[in-house]
Amino acid sequence: MNKQREAFLAAKGKVVLNACPGSGKTIAIAKKLIKLQKEYDSLYGKYSGVACLSFTNTAKDEINEKYKQLSGNILRFPHKISTIDSFINQYITLQFYYLMNKNFKRPKILDDNSFIDDAWKPKYRFKGLDGKPFCFAYPPSSIRFESDGTFSSNGYRPAEDKVKPEVFDDYCKQIKSWQIKNGLITTGDSAYIALHLLTEYPKIGNWLALRFPHLIVDEAQDNSEVQYALFEKLVEDGLKNIEFVGDPYQSLYEWRDADPQLFLEKYADTENWQGLDLSDDHRSPQRIIECFSLIRKETDPKIDSACEEDREIPIVVYKYTDTNSAIIVQHFDKQCQNYGLTNNQIVVRGNALKNQMLGKEAEQKPWKSWIPYLIIEVKNQYLGNEIKAAIKTIRTITVKLKYPDAGFHESKELENSLKDDHLFNALLLETLHDLPKFDLSITDWTSQTQAFLKNKLDIKNEVDFDLKNRNSKYFDKAILVEPVENHFKKPYSESKIPITTVHQVKGKSLEAILIFFNANKHKDNITFEDIINNHDAFPSEKQRIIYVAMSRPKHLLAMAFPEDLSDDEFREKFGEDIKIVTEQELNE
């Protein structure tokens, strides 16, 4: 237990904790929960407690897991570990939605709102100054509320010489009121609605502050402006203790309106907030820390390694060509085996590179229906032991097959009503288990799966995946006789190292990681050149992606760059001690 952690455990009131990678932030939070729980049982009684909010379900599960490990118990009522989104939905938006729309009892909170683009018909009426509808440039699904009450399309507003601001505002207002009226809102809308409810009815905030007199917000660097405004409103309404825990360098959700600057501002505002640090990295050895610190500002506090064990494994650099990425993956696999590393992951940015690595040809789209693609995914989920997610997805598929004409709302309603039907869930599990195998040819798999689903799920209509029979850009007829598994690979390597995007390793501790950097300088791509801090500025989102990936491993950091980079360039950036794998070594 170091001084920094002690300071955090003791802190009350308004706290910002800046926690570097590997600083054991989850442990710190779990310990704080244990401490607070004991304290609050006598202070607030049995019905008020701490809410610990995380950004993703994975992070939420980790805190739960850590809490259980350290205390031997599950954190129970009145305390709560939740994601920010579901906390806001559950305790504010859903509970008081009828105050926005009297006749609507329970709205749907959508993960994917793209169908609004089709469903909202008046969109063509709104035209830019060129006389053309602007609903393609600013689709209805992209429109969001900003915390100051204005609207934007994913954070942007059209230039005033393209679209009249009042026309754009009118467009946004109409979309949003249509959504609210029909109870079809996104989590972003939900946060805004919650903010609006708290503003209109401060008593909601009063009560919530009584129910949860202490909030801990994990991964606070990813909070949006609206979410911050909402928490501040709660403080106004009587919330005494709020803690923002996070690392601004690991903010990865700009597309969801995350703004790490807001975290930094609070950290800097010493008058109103207690800014605390955790700057010991218990995960990585110093050489890895030096690597990802390339992206940090010079003025930032230095991160010190406090790892338990340094196996002295050098940083590995691969050079990849159009053809050798599969071999690099194999080499990395072998390295991990040699060092006895078990918890490993390979990350890439973008699907094209991912396919290339998996040795897949250009992606094939043999079916017109989206269902078979989802079935392949769901079966892989099932095989990868993600049973709960798999059941959820197969339920969605089943509802779609059984009730092809049901609208969005109705389908969700049906899914909900089937959720607690145990016999039906058992049937879904059987279905998942018995689905035809992927070693069948695409043609056979298609016909067998169609027949299987019709029979198993007792579907009246014919099940038809709409198998294509003409060649196109995305489809080569020749593959119909090839096994499904050749074209729809499991997302992991031979020795089962998962291959994912960087977002999926966020918050994780790994033993080894292999990061594939892109070759082209596209705005979303991560490249060698991005591993730098320019003019002591706060790094961009893609630099932060690199930062997250590089700070994961305990032992082995491996990076694959395009072959046109020279060894000198690598050594200049990462130091003389790195291991650059030669082509010969690769082919051994």
């Binding site: 019905y47 009522f77 009828y98 009584l210």
Partner: protein
């Protein structure tokens, strides 16, 4: 906080009912079968959710069955969804936090916020009905199960066995109270030491030691090689929960020291044991609230009058009233006791019948829109204050006998003792026993029917207690008839001048404004029927019992009764009939004879008592030769 509203759908005999409750005391009344117990059980369902062992649950028999008859074909509709919603108001700040997920803000009046939970049971086949719940005002919102602990209750059923409850270890309330004190004083160790000492001392005794030795010798004879199978002896384990459960109430002979010998509870009267039990429960509630002020405590007592004589019922009620002082405890009582009912303010009375539930004080609230007029001469509508005053009046009027009107299906309201006594006798003549129709005869002792009428006269069907009501009143035309000038003897003087004058005055007299006022207050509702006696009840009685033939006057049962008891007067009446031209009397002649008979009747109460006994003891004769005034018959018909 308190349970302010209960909405029940399709539970047992209840198709749908909405009940408003008072914060402290609610006395639920109504005839048998009005679903009083179903209401209590509906409350118990919620309060049992947080209990480790539930005393009540819903079975398939609890789903409401609606029987409809169309064209002589009976159809039974069995509901498949029971829904019960509970609304709580008056929450403390801490409670608003604890019940956060229950909180509802009224969109139309944001000051009106309350906590709400709805539970439902659905018949979907299977082994038992499917339970679900939601909190707040939206579907699918579920507060944590743990919050059900916040609903604490005590239930004393109608068929309770308080003696057993007091002596049982399971659910031992006395033990709980003691344990609470022990925990608060942190004296577990000392208490346990007492038992340890007692156990030790007993074990010193040779009698105990020898017994133990004997048993263990036998055991080792059985087990041989396994010496671990041996017993020890003790009075009770020296653990607090065991000790407190061993403490039982008894009735000491010495009421000063409350020690040593005494009677066992089984030797006590059931009524006293009930009271001991209630006293213990109240002690537990009081101490629980001290420890935890967040939960709501409901005390549910069915028919506390069982085993208690009327005065004790009232003492108990007065005690409960004082005992339930915490903001968080609420009392629900069902009763058939008129004693209890008559002493409780209307706001604490909830009347149940086939049509719904009525908080009786609500009958006097929010009625301004109905433009009720009591004084038709002044033609002013009643104000809020006027109605409140009517409520106060009614509370004063209701005594033990009148409070029975709440348990009846219908009510016959009369002015005085004459009507009260005689009408009971008349119904015997018609083979129409009031009890059979569960009609309550209410003597308002005067003409102040109004306060009663507001219970039944709302134009809003949901507010109206839809019982059939008949009001029998006199039109009291020519009230001067009571004067000395019109005494029996004066009527005979001067060749019946005064008699003729009185008859003319009565015929031309105007009925008093009361009739118009009553009609106005009846508010055009069909369940209230006002029947007026021409002149008075006694006048009508006389008028309809004069034989057309002057030679057969004594054939009539009433006339014969008068002739037997007051022959001096009947002789003068017969004498008067001799002045007529024919035996068959004209209408006018009959009227005048009737006036004389009426004036010949002795004092009201005396006559009513004697004549009603006379009717009942000569029923067969009366049936053929006595006529019940038609307005009374019409009034009775309305109640059938």
């Amino acid at each position: 906080m308190y349970l302010s509203k209960l909405l029940i759908k399709h539970y047992r005999g209840i198709e749908k009912v909405e009940i408003d409750f008072e914060p402290k005391i609610n006395i639920i009344i109504g005839e048998n079968g009005s679903c009083k117990s179903a209401v209590i059980d509906a409350i118990r369902l919620l309060y049992n959710l947080g209990e480790p062992i539930r005393e009540i649950s819903v079975s398939f028999d609890d789903f409401h069955e609606k029987v409809t008859t169309e064209n002589d074909v009976q159809t039974i509709d069995k509901a498949t969804l029971i829904e019960i919603a509970y609304e709580f108001r008056g929450l403390s700040t801490a409670q608003k936090g604890a019940f956060y997920e229950y909180m509802v803000i009224d969109p139309d009046n944001s000051e009106n916020d309350y906590a709400k939970i709805t539970i439902s049971y659905e018949d979907k086949g299977g082994k038992y009905p499917q339970f679900t719940y939601n909190t707040g005002d939206i579907d699918g919102q579920k507060a944590e199960y743990k919050t059900f602990e916040l609903f604490q209750h005590y239930y004393l059923g109608a068929l309770r066995d308080s003696t057993r409850d007091l002596l049982n270890t399971r659910g031992n309330i006395l033990g709980r109270v003691i344990k609470r004190y022990i925990e608060r004083n942190e004296t577990e160790v000392e208490i346990e030491q007492i038992m340890r000492t007692a156990n030790d001392q007993l074990l010193e005794r040779n009698e105990v030691k020898e017994t133990r030795k004997g048993v263990n010798e036998n055991l080792s004879g059985i087990f041989k090689k396994f010496p671990e199978n041996k017993i020890g002896l003790q009075i009770e384990q020296s653990k607090t929960e065991y000790i407190v459960n061993a403490i039982k109430p008894f009735l000491p002979h010495n009421r000063q020291t409350l020690k040593d010998e005494g009677f066992h509870l089984w030797q006590n009267s059931l009524g006293f044991n009930n009271l001991i039990y209630i006293a213990t429960v109240l002690g537990d509630i009081k101490e629980q609230i001290v420890d935890n002020s967040t939960p709501h405590y409901a005390l549910l007592i069915e028919e506390p009058e069982a085993h208690l004589h009327p005065q004790l019922q009232l003492s108990l009620y007065n005690f409960l009233k004082q005992a339930i002082t915490s903001e968080n405890s609420q009392l629900f009582i069902t009763t058939h006791s008129p004693t209890l009912t008559s002493k409780v303010p209307l706001e604490n009375l909830v009347l149940l019948d086939d049509n719904g539930a009525y908080r009786l004080s609500n009958q006097f609230k929010d009625r301004i829109g109905e433009n009720l007029i009591e004084d038709t001469a002044q033609n002013v509508t009643l104000t809020k204050a006027d109605l409140e005053f009517r409520q106060k009046k009614l509370e004063r009027y209701i005594d033990v006998t009148k409070s029975q009107l709440f348990y009846a299906k219908a009510g016959l309201y009369v002015e005085g003792i004459s009507e009260e006594l005689l009408i009971s006798a008349f119904t015997a003549l018609e083979d129409y026993r009031l009890e059979d129709y569960r009609i309550e005869l209410v003597n308002v002792r005067g003409t102040s029917f109004y306060p009663f009428m507001y219970l039944f006269n709302s134009s809003n069907p949901r507010k109206r207690i839809n019982k059939q009501i008949t009001i029998l009143t006199d039109d009291d035309r020519f009230p001067e008839s009571k004067g000395k000038d019109y005494a029996f003897d004066r009527l005979l003087e001067d060749n019946y001048t005064k008699l003729n004058e009185l008859d003319t005055n009565i015929q031309t007299g105007a009925s008093v404004t009361r009739v118009a006022n009553l009609t106005s207050v009846a508010n055009n509702v069909t369940n209230i029927n006002i029947q007026t006696a021409f002149k008075t009840f006694e006048y009508e009685l006389a008028l309809h019992n004069i034989n057309n033939d002057r030679t057969h006057l004594k054939d009539n049962f009433l006339f014969a009764f008068m002739d037997t008891n007051y022959s001096a007067k009947t002789e003068r009446i017969i004498e008067y009939t001799q002045t007529f031209a024919n035996d068959q009397m004209t209408g006018e002649e009959k009227r005048k004879v009737a006036i004389l008979l009426w004036k010949a009747l002795p004092a009201k109460a005396e006559f009513a008592q004697d004549f009603s006994i006379h009717i009942l003891s000569n029923l067969e004769q009366a049936k053929t030769s006595f006529t019940v005034p038609p307005y009374i018959l019409q009034g009775l018909t309305h109640l059938k």
